[in-house]
């Protein structure tokens, strides 16, 4: 069972929810797909780290063969190539590794070279296998890293996998939720929170994923995110209170369910609700 945790903006509680769900599960896998700023490892402090580099392929020019026809420059949708004073310039960090320039070069002056853009780490924290994707600063896209993270983790039926997604609803999030069995949308009780919830709500609808919402930082009084859920008929999985104690645990990079019985109960019950929802989806769709 693969559960993706996402939200329209950063700081709503994706890591809080995914880390604590993974920690409260008997044996689980936690995958940090927020490769631009992974932070799940700060909570898990995984041990026995294994590391592997992730590379992409970018063009390399042989100036002796280049005739200056500019077919590659005209082809590149990302404008990663320029041809100035009889010389081809490749902007490596703008390149999206599509390989089109190499295919179109009539002189075979372009070949591929490998470029390291980041790495994936694997470690363990108690019963949790922790995967972290790390994109090097300045790189165009973290998608190759997410592909590697998720390919490493073919779903095992007896093991729960929690995917901590990047914020937003762009390609990088789509890649992260693509193979998920269920999506948890984390939302804040503000107007801004509703705007961001609406973004990811639209995304999971497009992907036709079963989903539910976690309302985080709940206060007394009106909750715009809750109102949105009721209007759109979105299942509310749990309401996590706006709580000083939880805030302090989180700020100290502690895993709440490992420290506090109250939170253990909240996240255990959330896990059961999610399991029921996934089970319900599988049976109703088969």
């Amino acid at each position: 069972m693969r559960i993706a945790v996402l939200s329209g903006k950063g700081g709503t509680g994706k890591t809080l929810v995914s880390v604590n769900l993974a920690a409260v599960t008997k044996t689980s896998t936690y995958i940090d797909c927020d490769v631009e700023e992974p932070n799940g490892y700060l909570f898990f402090k995984p041990e026995n780290i294994q590391e592997e580099e992730v590379s992409i392929r970018i063009p390399k020019v042989d100036e002796k063969l280049c005739s200056g026809c500019r077919k590659c420059v005209d082809f590149c949708k990302f404008n990663a190539l320029a041809y100035i004073k009889d010389k081809l310039i490749v902007f490596e960090e703008v390149c999206h590794s599509c390989g089109g320039c190499i295919m179109f070069c009539p002189e075979k002056a372009l070949t591929e070279k490998e470029k390291v853009i980041g790495k994936v780490q694997k470690g363990t924290s108690n019963q949790v296998t922790v995967y972290t994707g790390i994109l090097n600063t300045g790189e165009a896209s973290g998608i190759p890293i997410i592909k590697k993270l998720l390919a490493r983790n073919k779903p095992e039926s007896d093991k729960q996998t929690f995917i901590d997604c990047p914020p937003g609803s762009a390609c990088i999030v789509m890649e992260s939720i693509k193979d998920a069995d269920y999506c948890i949308l984390v939302a804040e009780p503000t107007i801004f929170g509703v705007h961001n919830l609406a973004m990811v709500y639209e995304l999971v609808k497009v992907f036709n994923k079963p989903f539910g919402a976690v309302l985080n930082k709940c206060l007394e009084g009106e909750n715009p995110a809750e109102k949105f859920c009721l209007e759109k008929n979105i299942k509310i999985l749990v309401r996590i209170p706006f709580d000083n104690e939880l805030g302090i645990l989180n700020s100290n990079a502690e895993i709440a369910v490992r420290k506090n019985e109250k939170y253990r109960t909240i996240f255990s019950s959330l896990l059961e609700t999610v399991k029921k929802e996934v089970h319900h989806e599988t049976t109703s769709n088969s």
Partner: protein
């Protein structure tokens, strides 16, 4: 000698455009003949790398000088390779900046921004 300027409108009196890569037009002004040519900037709607493509256009049109309020690093690399000198505009109108350049009153632009990309959640 030809001067390139990103402009909002196809007129010598036009304001200089705040964006180099995504300006709608370029003014190419020939100091010797005093003739103006306006180019549509095909890079304006690019999904990425607009500065690179716009710089290629400037180079292909044989400009020797660029007057612009600011410039990204990638565009600057292309222009440097093309040996185009870059000066910073100091007033709003294209015409006034040309006059100021000819009078030797424009400073060289030597700080280039790293671009506005990589914003999360886009």
């Amino acid at each position: 000698m030809k001067i390139a300027i990103p402009v909002d409108e196809k007129s010598l009196q036009s304001n200089v455009c705040v964006s180099f890569g995504r300006t709608p037009y370029f003014l190419i002004y020939d100091i010797d003949t005093k003739k103006s040519v306006f180019l549509d900037n095909s890079a304006a709607a690019s999904t990425g790398g607009a500065g690179i493509k716009a710089a290629q256009t400037i180079a292909d049109n044989k400009a020797n000088i660029l007057l612009t309020p600011r410039l990204g690093e990638n565009a600057a690399d292309v222009l440097k390779a093309a040996e185009i000198k870059i000066y910073k505009t100091t007033t709003a109108s294209a015409k006034d900046n040309i006059d100021a350049f000819i009078a030797g009153k424009l400073p060289l632009l030597n700080e280039f921004h790293a671009g506005f990309h990589g914003h999360r959640g886009n």
